[in-house]
Amino acid sequence: MSRRPFVRQVSRTRWYFKHSRYLRYMSREVTCVFIGAFALLLLCAVERLSEGQAAYESFLAAITGPWSILGLSIVLIFAVHNAISWFNVTPKALPVQIGEGFLPGRFIVAAHYAAWILISLAVLFFAGVL
């Protein structure tokens, strides 16, 4: 009797609609587009800064308009989603064994949030906001 296995095709463009867990994954992955865009904006800021005070102030004026603030707010939402989704999975990648047991994952996640808050406060402090 000859074998004739049947191979089911997987859509390369629509596979993530098959299950909510795949959509959740894609929502995390798509955040990189917004974070990449913000990184480019930061590079532009550095370039304008190198051109002098007037150039930098005109750049600041350009990104404080209502549309810019709306765009940056969207980027912030995606950045927060990216950070939270990655923080929540860090215990899988970085388990901490103590004797015969493991440190509960919530402590590892909490340590990341604490570091996030401290670094944010430091940035605000050095920026002269605090």
Binding site: M1, S2, R3, R4, P5, F6, V7, R8, V10, R12, W15, Y16, K18, H19, R21, Y22, Y25, E29, V89, P91, K92, A93, L94, P95, Q97, G99, E100, G101, F102
Partner: protein, 247 residues
Amino acid sequence: MNERMVQLDVLRYDPQIDDEPHFQRYEVPCKEEWVVLDALNAIKESIDPTLNYRWSCHMAVCGSCGMMINGEPRLSCHAFLRDFEGVIRVEPLANFPIERDLVTVADDFIDKLKRVKPYLIPGETRSIDEGEYIQTPAQLMKYRHFSMCINCMLCYAACPQYALQPLFLGPAAITLAHRYNLDSRDGGRDERQQVIATNEGVWECSFVGACSEVCPKAVDPAGALQQVKVASTLDWFREHLLPGDTK
């Protein structure tokens, strides 16, 4: 004992007759405490003896009866009928070719499993006179949860990376390699790294996490793969940034 009629849509494929698989509906009198596997057994015994599927232990130990049940990779011996409403859709495990009905071709997984050398490769050879390889409970706990894998392949059926890139070694094989790498009695990590720390190995994983969500033994393959990535990255830094061959 309460009985009720349960409807199952089972994907059928006879390679001698069919060009492609098709669903066949069965109405089965089922007892309240039955699982999907019991319903399939009832079909085979009383309704349609031509139905093909794999099973053995009926207690979530052998890993033979994995199927897609309402689109989710499950062990059919662990899927209680009382947890489903309406018609239950039963298909062969996704991402594997269908041999016949609910039986898949597992050759790819078996080959990959062999390649990662999922067995102890002692770091030091000891004679019988020198006694057993001693391991502390803490050393055991380091890898114990990864050793619970029953090779059921549900993680492969859930993994979209494996679906899109069949060359990917996949969750279970890499997890079992990691299990032996973590074993204090083992010295085979360098051999396994050549297989798992590659583009088609752990770096094909993008941490969807579906493997861990469907694992019936709470092995957490996604965790194992991320730990392999961390360890492999540290290897790279040691090789490229530290003087001498410190691997």
